[in-house]
C-alpha cells in the first residue's frame, strides 16, 4: 500500500492491464507525448494531464498511439478495434469533445451488441476528463455524464478517489461492454492509499464514504469530497450524515441509495451537472417513486445552475456546488418538520 495520486493510480491501472493483456492498447491525442515536433525527447508529457506518462517507453508506439486531433476517428477506430479483438482504451481529452464524436458513441458502440443480435463484443474503454474549477471556460469544463448515462448500452463510471479510480478503470478495461470513465480534472492530484497490486471494483456497487443515520447525501465524482467535508463538519455538532458515492451512474446501485434513504428519511443529492435531466433529478425521482413513505422531508438537489460555465473565475466558483450550499441543503432537510 502506497500513497498515490489519482493521476498515478490511473497510470498504474493502465500499465498493469497492458502488462496483463497484449490486446490492450491506448489511443488518443498526445497520449504518447506527441510526435512530429522538434524535440528529441522520446516522451514529453503523456497527455495534457500527464496521466499516460511513461507508458510508451514500456509498451511502444504500436500500443500507445498518438493520434491526430480527430475525435470521431479516435472513438470510431477504437470501436472497430474493439469489435475485432483488441481491448482499446481511447482517450477523449475533454468530455466536452463528445460534440464531435457522439455518433460513434451513441449510435455505434452503444448499439453494436444489441443490433447485431448479441453476437458482437465491444470491450471499449473511453477515458475522459470532465468538470469545472480550472477556469477552462464553457467548452472545457462540463460534467456531461447525465447525457451518456441516459444511453442504453453504455456504462458510466465516476471515480471520486485514487483507490476507486484504479480499481474501476481496471474493471472497465476487462469489461466486455463499452465503458466511459469520467475523470474529474480537479482531482488528478488527490491522494490516498492505493494497493500496488492490481484489483477490480465491480460496477453498480455504491461506496458509503461516511456512515450516518439522520440524512443521506448522494454525491458524484468530486462532489463526494465536498459532501464528506460537510458530513465531517456536521459530525462535530453531533449530526449524523451518511454519504453515498454510487461510483457508477450506469449501472446505478439503486438498492444502496434506497436502503440509506429508508434509514434516514432525508435526502440531499449533489451533482455538478445542470439540473434538467441530471443525476440529481434521477436520484430524487428514485426516492420519490420507490421510498415515498419513508421520506420525512422533500428531497433537496444541489446542482450547478441551468447556465453556461463561464471562464470568469469568480463566476465559475458560483457555478460549482459548494460546501456551503451542501451544508445549507443538509440543514434544510434536517430542519423540515
Amino acid at each position: 500500500m502506497t500513497i498515490k495520486t489519482m493521476r498515478d493510480a490511473i497510470n498504474e491501472a493502465l500499465r498493469q492491464e497492458m502488462q496483463r493483456d497484449p490486446c490492450v492498447i491506448i489511443l488518443g491525442e498526445d497520449v504518447a507525448g506527441g510526435l512530429g515536433g522538434t524535440s528529441d525527447v522520446e516522451e514529453a508529457g503523456g497527455g495534457v494531464f500527464g496521466v499516460t506518462a511513461g507508458l510508451v517507453q514500456e509498451f511502444g508506439r504500436d500500443r500507445v498511439i498518438d493520434t491526430p486531433i480527430t475525435e470521431s476517428a479516435i472513438i470510431g477506430a477504437a470501436n472497430g478495434a474493439a469489435l475485432t479483438g483488441l481491448r482499446p482504451v481511447a482517450e477523449l481529452m475533454f468530455v466536452d469533445f463528445i460534440g464531435v464524436c457522439l455518433d460513434q458513441i451513441m449510435n455505434q458502440t452503444a448499439k453494436f451488441r444489441y443490433m447485431f443480435g448479441g453476437k458482437a463484443k465491444v470491450p471499449l474503454t473511453i477515458r475522459t476528463a470532465m468538470g469545472a474549477g480550472w477556469t477552462c471556460g464553457p467548452q472545457h469544463s462540463q460534467a456531461l455524464y447525465p447525457i451518456l448515462t441516459s444511453i442504453p448500452g453504455l456504462k458510466c463510471v465516476l471515480p471520486s478517489n485514487p483507490y476507486d479510480a484504479k480499481g474501476l478503470l481496471a474493471q472497465a478495461i476487462r469489461d466486455d461492454d463499452p465503458v466511459i470513465v469520467f475523470e474529474h480534472k480537479m482531482m488528478y492530484g488527490e491522494e490516498c492509499e492505493v494497493p500496488d497490486e492490481p484489483y477490480l471494483i465491480p460496477f453498480g456497487q455504491a461506496n458509503v464514504t461516511r456512515k450516518g443515520n439522520q440524512v443521506t447525501i448522494v454525491a458524484f465524482s468530486r462532489m463526494v469530497l465536498l459532501a464528506n467535508q460537510v458530513a465531517d463538519k456536521l459530525a462535530q455538532e453531533g449530526l449524523s450524515v451518511e454519504v453515498i458515492d454510487p461510483r457508477t451512474t450506469s449501472p446505478l446501485d439503486e438498492a444502496s441509495i434506497l436502503d440509506s434513504v429508508e434509514k434516514t428519511g432525508r435526502l440531499v443529492v449533489v451533482d455538478e451537472s445542470p439540473p434538467l435531466c441530471s443525476m440529481a433529478s434521477e436520484i430524487a425521482s428514485l426516492a420519490a417513486c420507490e421510498c415515498f413513505d419513508y421520506l420525512k422531508a422533500p428531497v433537496v438537489k444541489v446542482t450547478a445552475p441551468h447556465t453556461v460555465i463561464p471562464a470568469t473565475p469568480s463566476l465559475e466558483q458560483i457555478y460549482i456546488p459548494s460546501v456551503e450550499k451542501i451544508e445549507s441543503a443538509v440543514r434544510t432537510v434536517l430542519d423540515y418538520e
Binding site: 490486446c23 492498447i25 489511443l27 504500436d62 500500443r63 498511439i65 493520434t67 491526430p68 480527430t70 470521431s72 476517428a73 479516435i74 472513438i75 470510431g76 477506430a77 477504437a78 470501436n79 472497430g80 478495434a81 474493439a82 469489435l83 475485432t84 479483438g85 483488441l86 482499446p88 455518433d103 460513434q104 449510435n107 455505434q108 453494436f112 451488441r113 444489441y114 443490433m115 447485431f116 443480435g117 448479441g118 453476437k119 458482437a120 463484443k121 442504453p152 448500452g153 456504462k155 469489461d175 466486455d176 461492454d177 453498480g204 449501472p251
Partner: protein
C-alpha cells in the same frame, strides 16, 4: 485480366445473387412483407463483388445503409440475411437489426450502417487490429458519394494514412446522395482526389465492370497486405432504384433509369464478356440462375414463415453483463 473458371463462376453467382435478391426484396416490400426502410443495390453489384472477392474471411468490411450487396459479396448466408431483413428469429442479428444493420462477425462483416459515413472510422479500427495483432488481414470501407462529404470519412482517411494502416476505401459514386446529385454535392467534383490528398493512391474505376474493379482492388489489397498503407478507389455505377423503396425519384430525368438498365448493367456486362470470350457458356450461367431463383424461393418462404423474436428479446443483449 484472365481469371480461372472457378473464379468466374463464383463472381457470376455473387453478382446474380445480389441482383435477384434485391429484385425479390423490392417485390416483397411492395407486397407489404418487409418492415422498415429498404435501400436496393441494383446497378452497383460489380463494385461489391469485385472488391470482396479480393478479400478472405480474416479481412473486414464496413458497409452502408445500402448494404445487402456487400453482405452477399462478403459471404454472409443469404437465408440468415433474409431472416434479418424480415426481422425474424434466427436472423444474422437475431431479427433486431433489420436491413440497415446486418452484420456477421464470423464473416468479417462489421455491419451495414444507417448513419451515413459512420463505417469508415470503424473499419479503420479493424485495420488497426490487423496491424497490431499482425493477422495479415486488411479492412475495407464502402462509402457512397453522399458519405464522401461527411467529416468522419475525412478523419478516417487521415488516420489510416497517419498510422499507415492496411485499409482500402471504396467510394461508390452512384450518382446521388439521397435525392441530391453528385454533380452538385461534391465540391471540386473529384471524390477520389480527396483521398489522394491524404497521400494514398486513388483510382477511378468503372463500377459496372467487375473485371476492372477486381483488378484495381487487387492492387490496393496487395499494397495493404505488404504494409504499404491505405488506398482509395472511386467506382462509378448509378443505382437503378430510389434512395429508398418508395422514393418517387422526381430528381431523375424520365429516361435515366431506362437508359441505365439498357446500357449500364454490371450483370449483363459480365455475361457478355465471359460468353463472348468463350470462358463460360450461356448454359453454365443458366444453371446458376435456376439455382439462385430456387434458393430465393425457398429462403423467402422460410423467412416469411419464421417466428418473430420473443417479447423478452426487447431487453436482451443491451450489455454483456449489467
Amino acid at each position: 485480366m484472365i481469371l480461372d473458371k472457378k473464379t468466374l463462376l463464383d463472381a457470376y453467382r455473387r453478382l446474380k445473387t445480389i441482383r435477384e435478391f434485391e429484385l425479390r426484396m423490392r417485390a416483397e416490400n411492395e407486397a407489404g412483407q418487409l418492415p422498415g426502410f429498404l435501400h436496393l443495390y441494383c446497378g452497383q453489384e460489380a463494385i461489391a463483388v469485385g472488391a470482396c472477392m479480393q478479400l478472405d474471411e480474416k479481412d473486414y468490411i464496413g458497409s452502408t445503409h445500402r448494404g445487402h450487396g456487400h453482405c452477399i459479396a462478403k459471404g454472409c448466408d443469404v437465408g440468415d440475411m433474409l431472416l434479418e431483413i424480415y426481422c425474424k428469429q434466427g436472423g444474422l442479428c437475431n431479427g433486431k437489426g433489420g436491413s440497415m444493420h446486418i452484420a456477421d462477425m464470423n464473416k468479417g462483416m462489421l455491419g451495414a450502417n444507417a448513419i451515413v459515413g459512420a463505417a469508415p472510422p470503424i473499419a479503420v479500427g479493424a485495420a488497426l487490429t490487423a496491424k497490431t495483432l499482425k493477422t495479415g488481414g486488411v479492412a475495407m470501407a464502402f462509402i457512397g458519394d453522399g458519405a464522401s462529404n461527411q467529416g468522419t470519412v475525412f478523419e478516417a482517411l487521415n488516420l489510416a494514412s497517419v498510422l499507415k494502416l492496411p485499409m482500402i476505401f471504396i467510394y461508390e459514386n452512384n450518382g446521388y446522395g439521397e435525392f441530391t446529385g453528385a454533380g452538385y454535392h461534391v465540391g471540386g467534383n473529384d471524390i477520389v482526389g480527396r483521398a489522394r490528398a491524404f497521400g494514398m493512391p486513388g483510382e477511378n474505376v468503372d463500377g459496372t465492370d467487375f473485371f476492372a474493379m477486381f483488378e484495381a482492388v487487387g492492387e490496393a489489397v496487395q499494397r495493404a497486405r505488404r504494409g504499404d498503407g491505405p488506398s482509395a478507389i472511386e467506382a462509378s455505377a448509378m443505382r437503378y432504384y430510389g434512395h429508398f423503396e418508395g422514393d418517387p425519384q422526381l430528381y431523375r430525368a424520365k429516361n435515366e433509369v431506362k437508359n441505365l438498365m439498357e446500357n449500364a448493367d454490371p450483370v449483363r456486362n459480365f455475361v457478355t464478356r465471359v460468353t463472348d470470350s468463350g470462358e463460360l457458356t450461356v448454359d453454365e450461367l443458366a444453371v446458376i440462375d435456376t439455382e439462385i431463383l430456387a434458393m430465393l424461393d425457398e429462403k423467402v418462404e422460410a423467412a416469411r414463415a419464421a417466428p418473430v423474436p420473443a417479447a423478452n428479446e426487447l431487453y436482451t443483449d443491451v450489455y454483456a453483463n449489467y
